[in-house]
């Protein structure tokens, strides 16, 4: 049986139009692909422009006004909202709390999540049970986590105080969320538990791609568990580790829900962070202009920290 394109003449004639047809179809196909690509992208892009880009630009504009959030008039006040921020004790206190939150709230869940992922990955007994246990916080909304931990800390019926009282440590038990010295850290513990589920999930998945031959080689060379984890495994999951850390870090500057649910920023403003302070300023005190300036501060801090972290990480690599 003759194959198409093998004839000297007729085949040459047969090949020519086929080739021509083939070359001609490439741009057409690309145009078609581009058309369908745009068709699928445009709805998402429109939504993004309306619900993300426009409000973002509008927030920048509002941060230069004294709008109260309700009135039709918005007077231009220049940089005065930004100048006010640096003299506002409550904003500075919220910023300081955010710094604590970003440091502890980024390092802790990543370390805990990494440890949990390594534990399950290294084939510990009952790994299915631990997998479910460590994954659990990821499926719970932060608001639910906040409510549950609020009960755990409750001074009337909370488990923490009951356990402490039962252990004869009545002097230690207290209203954990009512004490200005413990409120922020008590909320932070709940948030770290919540965030560890996400870290565990990503890092556990990334561990499935680790080159086992290098791990086995290091075992033969006598490396212990920690040495294997630190020198062989962690470098191989560095991109995922960076991603997890960056996401947690950015979330640290915009944290709102769990604090709002558990303490509302109190007692006083002991657990206030920039996002809760922004919310109160913009929506409770009717100072939408100043609230917008605070929102811009959160955005800038998140962007800077994420950018710096990623750059440092890239340099190390």
């Amino acid at each position: 049986m003759k194959e198409a394109g093998t004839q000297t003449e007729g085949g040459g004639q047969a090949l020519a139009p086929r080739r021509k047809r083939g070359f001609a179809s490439v741009p057409a196909l690309r145009r078609q692909q581009a058309y369908y690509g745009a068709l699928f992208v445009v709805p998402g892009l429109i939504v993004y422009l309306i619900f993300m880009v426009y409000p973002f630009l509008d927030t920048i504009y509002l941060s230069f006004t004294n709008w109260n959030g309700v009135a039709t008039s918005k007077d231009w006040v220049g940089l005065s909202n930004y100048a006010r921020m640096f003299a506002d004790g409550a904003a500075l206190k919220a910023f300081a709390n955010n710094v604590v939150w970003v440091i502890l709230g980024t390092i802790s869940p990543v370390v805990i999540g990494l440890f949990e992922a390594l534990l399950v990955w290294s084939g510990a007994r009952a790994s299915l049970f631990f997998r479910v246990l460590f994954f659990l916080p990821f499926v719970l909304p932060l608001v639910v986590i906040g409510i549950v931990w609020q009960w755990i800390y409750n001074p009337l019926f909370g488990v923490v105080n009951k356990v402490l009282d039962g252990a004869g440590l009545e002097g230690v038990s207290r209203g954990w969320l009512a004490d200005p010295h413990t409120a922020l850290y008590a909320v932070l513990i709940a948030a770290i538990w919540g965030a560890s589920g996400f870290c565990f999930l990503i890092l556990h998945a990334s561990l499935q791609n680790v080159d086992m031959s290098t791990v086995e080689a290091s075992m033969i060379d006598g490396a212990n568990w920690f040495q294997r984890a630190w020198s062989i495994v962690v470098p191989q999951i560095a991109p995922q580790l960076t991603m997890v850390t960056a996401v947690t870090l950015i979330g640290g500057f915009s944290v709102f829900d769990i604090i709002y649910v558990m303490t509302g920023g109190g007692p006083g403003n002991a657990s206030e962070v920039l996002a809760t302070y922004t919310y109160k300023t913009a929506f409770e005190q009717n100072e939408a202009g100043y609230g917008s300036a605070l929102a811009m501060l959160i955005t800038v801090l998140s962007l800077i920290s994420a950018f710096v972290f990623v750059r440092v990480r890239e340099r190390q690599r």
């Binding site: 109260n68 959030g69 309700v70 009135a71 039709t72 609020q150 800390y153 409750n154 001074p155 009337l156 207290r174 209203g175 954990w176 969320l177 009512a178 004490d179 200005p180 303490t263 509302g264 920023g265 109190g266 007692p267 006083g268 403003n269 002991a270 109160k280 929506f283 409770e284 005190q285 009717n286």
Partner: protein
């Protein structure tokens, strides 16, 4: 084997269109509504305290109204009270605002909306319908000389007590402290107080300053040039948020206990007294089974007057862009009718802000006593003020977070009073304080 079929652009658009139409239909269905006929009146309000009260609210505000006015359909949209503020501001600025809504009457609430031109003046409606709201109550919903709201509830902050635990009503704070010490000795919590939400402390503050300054003294601050850092104010703050805390009259960790949890301490008999508003009467009647509840006004502090805070709770307002202004007025008028008001009193144990014939009213004894006590509220001078409904939000924020700080010892009573004065001066400067007439 699963066969694959390419979807053509036309089919894709068809499917997309069908999907969108379906979503739109579902969305419309999800809006809810009430069966009735004719013109739709949109009513936006806060959810009732309990599910049985919510059912009663629907019966009175929707079913009964539609039966009396068949040409209207009332769509009642209820959200948790704490969310009302954020929702209403946005809704009023939209092209689909509620026609009529219930909202706080203070300058930081209704006043802000009136200033922004989002409310319909009710001057004509008052004249046309002859609504007989108490003058002092009407004043609370009057901004810049124009009346915009119809106060629908009068409240008083009192001390509820468990009659099994409190044998005699104290006449002075010294008596009260003696009683509290005795109760502590019996393992009871003297006062059920929780301030996690921050606003409950403002009621205690209202009780304190109302007694210490009396109505006139408060008027001199609110409408005159007297100051919030006066020694009487400092004394009131110190008593409730330092002295009572130090003496262990509140449960431990008061800043982490919610208002509801604190009330539960009272309902369960673990706490002997509860300083809160008359809005709690119906919940007390529903929840307390094992003992009898009485109430008394907070006693004299160092020889002060006894002027329990009283005032207007929420009010009804009509949106400037209401689709059906006449319908909104008809609905308000219906709620103010004597038989509707009596029904509301029986079902919710709340006190209307207008005279109502209370003869033959089927209400619990506790509510009857409250009603008798509050009937004095028409007599100016007998009562103090519930401060946070009169003061602007920047002042309230200092109250809310500041009292928590005093409780924890992070701030002294005099520092808190100074900060309140600063916030007041700032609000006064920007014209955000209430006016008397």
């Amino acid at each position: 084997m699963v066969s694959r079929r390419a979807v053509s652009r036309r089919e894709f658009l068809k499917l997309g269109g069908a999907g969108l139409a379906g979503a739109a239909l579902l969305g419309t269905a999800g809006c809810g509504g009430s069966q009735g006929g004719g013109k739709v009146i949109n009513y936006f309000t806060g959810t009732a305290e309990t599910s049985s009260q919510e059912r009663a609210a629907i019966e009175i505000q929707v079913d009964r109204f539609q039966k009396q006015y068949p040409k209207y359909t009332l769509k009642r949209e209820a959200v948790p009270t704490e969310n009302q503020r954020n929702v209403i501001q946005t809704r009023l600025q939209s092209n689909d605002p509620p026609d009529v809504f219930s909202y706080d009457t203070g300058p930081g609430f209704g006043g802000v909306l009136a200033d922004a031109g989002l409310l319909h003046s009710l001057e004509d409606a008052y004249k046309k319908k002859g609504w007989d709201i108490y003058d002092w109550a009407k004043q609370r919903a009057t901004y810049g000389g124009t009346v915009y709201g119809v106060p629908d509830q009068v409240e008083e902050v009192i001390v509820y007590y468990n009659k099994d635990l409190v044998p005699e009503v104290p006449k002075t704070v010294d008596d009260l402290e003696q009683l509290a010490d005795d109760l502590k000795g019996k393992g009871k919590i003297p006062f059920a107080f929780g301030d996690q939400e921050q606003w409950p402390a403002s009621h205690l503050f209202s009780v304190g300053v109302s007694n210490m300054l009396g109505r006139e003294g408060l008027d001199n601050i609110l409408y005159g040039d007297d100051r919030w850092d006066a020694p009487e104010v400092v004394k009131a703050i110190d008593l409730f948020f330092r002295s009572f805390v130090k003496d262990g009259y509140y449960p431990d960790g008061v800043n982490a206990i919610t208002y509801d949890d604190a009330n539960s301490l009272f309902f369960s008999g673990k706490a002997a007294m509860n300083i809160t508003g008359t809005w709690l009467v119906s919940t007390i009647v529903e929840s307390v089974r094992d003992f009898e509840v009485g109430f008394f006004p907070f006693p004299s502090i160092d020889g002060s007057s006894i002027s329990p805070p009283a005032g207007v709770g929420t009010g009804l307002f009509v949106a400037k862009k209401a689709q059906d202004y006449e319908g909104a007025i008809t609905f308000i008028d219906y709620l103010l009718q004597d038989d509707t008001a009596r029904l509301v009193m029986e079902k919710f144990n709340t006190i209307p802000a207008h005279p109502v014939d209370t003869k033959g009213l089927k209400v619990p004894g506790l509510f009857k006593s409250v009603l008798d006590d509050l009937s004095k509220s028409t007599e100016a001078g007998a009562f103090g003020y519930n401060i946070d409904v009169l003061t602007p939000q920047n002042f309230n924020d200092i109250m809310y977070s500041g009292f928590q700080d005093v409780i924890t010892g992070s701030r002294s009573a005099s520092e808190q009073a100074s900060m309140l004065q600063d916030a007041w001066a700032k609000a006064k400067k920007s014209g955000d304080v209430p006016t008397q007439g």
